[in-house]
């Protein structure tokens, strides 16, 4: 089976620091995983853990000064190091991306329908009216009532939920193999969140699209994802099927993350807090980046842990706990 | 929103402070140096020039630049260098005093409008808006048409033109500062309005006004020159940069130095003020209230 997305040792570094003291912020460090077509893969972690950077690296949206190494293949084609022209052809066509806030994702001066049609015309040789036809059909598909009424509206006349539907329609206009959704529901209220997640899920099934869903919300992951990757400080620490991750978290960080969820501990009055701080990524860090805060740290942690399979899970840890949540 | 970004900027500044020493951009240094040079030259004009700017030397009519008269002589044989230096004196004086007067009136007005809001704000803002109905130069010309020409009148007219702009900046800046927690805090502790305004709001809100004032000083100088060029500002025989440009127009091709040097002096002064303004903006108005 060919994967819609295959990452192999993907690393991203941002040059920073002053003249004479150049540093590199290692935002993503050696991340590998695959997403099969039709699968929803959740990527979870605290803000700043590199999950959005990872997504932008795949889409080629990072500044040219960024240092990217490793491989990212979308539908079997390498996307790291592509030329501008090749990137443009890939974006919105084989791989599409939606962002956190739909109200800022749309051009406020353009009619919403035209913003969908524009994406179609960027990748398919169709006439203006054919593109409009297709855009209207997409608007219907994402659940907008009265698409021909809405087509000419400026974004500010639509509600937040409707705008996010337009954004999704524009992203899916060319039937991409891969959809990256970066916190697609964070800006919406809870009922809308569920609707948009259902929409993404429905479209994924209908078009057999692979979805990489990036979120800090474990609840969202539990609702729709097939498998989950957990990131900490730029490293992928654990990959597991959703049920397995919640039932049997293996990595000490995953356990801490689950324990920190509101309502996670029965009877506990306050949220568990992970002691310590996320390390400064502009410093060279040897080995496991969680080690400085890890209760199970051992000497071996000074070397980057290899990923090992444990049942259905894959975990990068030298000193795995056994048994259930402690 | 704005207050948040101010806080954010403050945090960024606080963080970066120890690592990088506070260094002025080259352009700011150039601006400050240039301005200092021009002001010094204007103050020391009698010492530097070596000639009386109003002395007519018939043998030197439209004389080309030489060692004794580096900028040449004008239609009446007067020394152009000393006229430029003395003209710079008048121009700088008019520019700085007009902006100073405008700032002195604009700051309290903007402070009151921004802090108290309501009908006071409407009254002050709408009244000042009325001054903006006329294009700046026309307002100045109209005022001069009634009162009669002269450098004092020109300075007052320029002050009136810049008053609404500066008051508006002060008002916006006051609005931003008034929403800060330390102001809300002392308000809730029952401090008097006068105390809050003078010790908390005004000192923190004045930055953008200073930035705007320094930029406007350059334009005020240009405006004074324009009025004098039209014969409505500084009156002859007092040398003024604009007046010199008007005098030399008819002999432009025979004696271009009469025209070139006063114009260069104006352009340099405007550049100096705007570079200074850019530097001040970076230091005093990181969020761009003044623009």
């Amino acid at each position: 089976m060919t994967a819609s997305l295959a990452l192999d040792g993907l690393s991203v570094g941002f040059p920073t620091g002053a003249l004479g003291d150049p540093r590199i912020v290692s935002a993503v460090d050696g991340v590998s995983f695959t997403v099969a077509s039709g699968e929803i893969f959740g990527l979870v972690g605290e803000s700043g853990c590199g999950k959005s950077t990872l997504a932008n690296a795949i889409m080629g949206l990072l500044p040219t000064s960024t240092i990217i190494t490793g491989s990212a293949r979308v539908h079997d084609a390498e996307v790291i190091g592509l030329s501008d022209a090749a990137l443009r052809q890939m974006r919105g066509n084989t791989a599409a991306m939606v962002f956190q806030d739909a109200s800022t994702s749309l051009d406020p001066t353009w009619p919403v329908g035209d913003q969908i049609a524009e994406t179609i015309r960027a990748h398919q040789s169709v006439t203006r009216s054919e593109a409009k036809e297709k855009a209207l059909a997409l608007m219907t598909e994402v659940g907008l009532t009265d698409p021909s009424e809405r087509y000419g509206d400026a974004p500010h006349r639509l509600s937040g939920g409707m705008r996010q539907r337009i954004v999704i329609a524009a992203a899916l206009a060319n039937n991409p193999k891969l959809l990256i959704a970066d916190e697609p529901t964070t800006a919406l209220d809870v009922t809308l969140q569920a609707q948009i997640l259902q929409l993404i899920d429905r479209l994924r099934v209908a078009h057999n699209t692979a979805v990489l869903l990036i979120t800090h919300d474990l609840g969202v992951i539990a609702q729709v994802c097939d498998r989950v990757g957990v990131m900490y400080a730029g490293q992928l620490v654990e990959v597991a099927p959703v049920a397995e991750l919640f039932a049997n978290p293996r990595h000490p960080y995953t356990r801490a993350l689950l324990a920190a969820r509101p309502g996670a501990q029965s009877g506990a009055e306050r949220l568990a807090v992970i002691p310590g701080q996320v390390p400064d990524l502009s410093e060279e860090i040897a080995g496991c980046r969680f080690a400085s805060r890890c209760p199970r740290r051992i000497d071996a942690c000074a070397v980057t842990p290899a990923r090992v399979s444990l049942g259905d899970s894959e975990v990068a840890c030298w000193n795995l706990p056994t048994g259930g949540t402690e | 929103m704005i207050s948040q970004s101010i806080t954010a900027t403050a945090i960024v500044l606080a963080k970066s402070a120890p690592r990088r020493r506070h260094r002025l951009p080259v352009t700011t240094t150039v601006g400050v140096a240039l301005l200092a040079l021009l002001i010094l030259a204007a103050i020391a004009a009698p010492l530097l020039s070596g000639h009386n700017p109003e002395t007519v030397e018939t043998a030197r009519v439209m004389g080309a630049p030489n060692a004794l008269h580096p900028f040449g002589s004008d239609v009446l044989g007067r020394d152009v260098l000393s006229r430029v230096l003395f003209g710079l004196r008048v121009s700088l004086l008019v520019a700085l005093s007009s902006v100073a007067v405008a700032t002195l009136i604009a700051v309290p007005l903007g402070l009151i409008a921004g802090y108290f809001g309501g009908w006071l704000d409407s009254l002050i803002s709408r009244s000042l808006d009325m001054l903006l109905v006329l294009p700046a130069l026309l307002l100045a010309i109209t005022l001069i048409a009634i009162v009669g020409p002269g450098s004092t009148v020109a300075a007052l007219a320029i002050a009136i033109i810049y008053l609404p702009i500066l008051a508006r900046v002060m008002r916006t800046s006051t609005l931003v500062v008034s929403r800060q927690e330390y102001v809300l805090g002392s308000r809730s502790r029952g401090a008097s309005a006068w105390r809050i305004l003078s010790s908390h709001v005004a000192p923190n809100a004045i930055g953008p006004v200073i930035v705007q004032a320094s930029v406007l000083s350059g334009f005020a100088l240009q405006l004074e020159a324009a009025l004098s060029f039209l014969g409505l500002g500084t009156q002859p025989p007092t040398p003024s940069l604009g007046g010199m440009l008007a005098d030399g127009r008819d002999v432009l091709t025979q004696a271009p130095w009469v025209e070139i040097y006063p114009g260069l002096a104006i352009a340099l002064a405007v550049v100096a003020f705007s570079l200074l303004g850019d530097g001040l903006r970076r230091a005093l108005d990181p969020t761009g209230v003044a623009s």
Binding site: M59, L61, R88, R91, G92, N93, A96, M97, V98, F99, D101, T104, S105, L106, D107, P108, T109, W110, E118, T119, A122, H123, A154, H156, R157, V167, A171 | V133, L134, P135, A136, L137, L138, I141, T142, L143, I144, A145, I146, V147, G148, Q222, A225, A226, F229, L230, G231, L232, L245, R249, L252, T253, E259, I260, G263, I266, A267, L268, V270, S274
Partner: protein
């Protein structure tokens, strides 16, 4: 629907502004300390002379009566008489305004044609484009327009003798001649303006290009060119047009100087001559004409901005 309401509301709003402006122009002349008649007649005038002229100009009547007479005349197109030539001011303005409009209109078009494309390049281009355009902005803003005009005359009319140094021929009489007389004044007036428009375009484009919707456009595979011109420039347009509207006021002021410098028979020169002759009904009429032009241009730019950005015509906050 909503658009029409916006146009109506904005247009109706212009009427009180015009009215307030007429009051201001009227009052400035009468309330500013200093007696225009004394200024006019000079210090040798006797009290009887002054009283006589005051009566002629109806300055001895109550303010309200004076205003009503003057404003009533305005509504009928009667602006009064020039004190020197005794010509009706309405006629004088009808001759002079086209010259000023041609000068400022051409200067603004040239400034837009240069400033907007360069501003877009400055926002999207490489380091050298940025440096060169910044240099142009600093020079354009700092060089006084009248001095620039003089230097242009020195080079093009004096040394190269390519163009006439000053003078005017009506467009109707000889279009080519007219334009050759206009080249230097228009260049003089347009240079600083182009610098302002360049700077505004650059900063508006820079801030729009950082907005999230641009990232989404890139993620959709839209070409850089299309993002720049189809989206970013369209979003920057309201800011640019706002500045152009404000700058037209500056241009109308600058026209006073440029017309004087190049001996163009426009309203600006009319005003300056009138000020020097203490011919203040003409000053009043000229200022009124230019201020009214400015207000109407502001209306047009505001309507245009509403058309460019539907959020404004919908009354939504930006």
């Amino acid at each position: 629907m909503n658009g029409l309401a916006f146009v109506l509301r904005r247009t109706l709003l212009t009427i009180p502004v015009l009215w307030v402006m007429s009051i201001i122009v009227f009052l400035i002349i009468r309330l500013v300390p200093g007696d225009p008649v004394r200024t006019m007649l000079g210090f040798r005038a006797t009290a009887a002379n002054v009283a006589e002229v005051r009566r002629q100009l109806h300055l001895d009547e109550p303010l309200l009566q004076q205003y009503l007479d003057w404003a009533g005349g305005l509504l009928h197109g009667d602006l009064g008489q020039d004190l020197v030539s005794k010509a009706p001011l309405a006629e004088l303005l009808a001759q002079r305004l086209p010259v000023t409009f041609e000068l400022t209109g051409l200067a603004m078009l040239l400034a837009i044609a240069v400033g907007v494309p360069l501003g877009v390049r400055a926002a999207t281009g490489g380091r050298w484009v940025k440096r060169l355009t910044s240099g142009f902005v600093v020079a354009g803003i700092s060089i006084p327009d009248f001095w620039l005009g003089i230097m242009l005359v020195l080079v093009f009319a004096g040394t190269l003798t390519l163009l006439p140094p000053s003078g005017y021929v009506p467009f109707g009489d000889d279009p080519m001649q007219n334009l050759s007389y206009m080249v230097l004044p228009v260049l003089t007036l347009a240079t600083a303006e182009a610098a302002y428009i360049l700077r505004t375009t650059r900063s508006a484009m820079e801030s729009v290009l950082q907005r999230p919707f641009v990232t989404f456009l890139r993620a959709k595979g839209i070409s850089r060119r299309r993002i720049t011109y189809g989206h970013a420039l369209k979003n920057s347009a309201p800011t640019i047009v706002t500045v152009i509207g404000i700058q037209i006021g500056v241009l109308l002021g600058g026209a006073v100087i440029v017309e004087t410098l190049f001996a163009l028979p426009g309203v600006g020169r009319l005003i300056v001559t009138a000020v020097n002759q203490r011919n203040y009904p003409t000053v009043q009429a000229g200022v009124l004409a230019i201020a009214a032009t400015f207000i109407i241009v502001s209306l047009i730019t505001d309507l245009f901005i509403g058309w460019l950005d539907p959020r404004i015509s919908d009354g939504a906050s930006r």
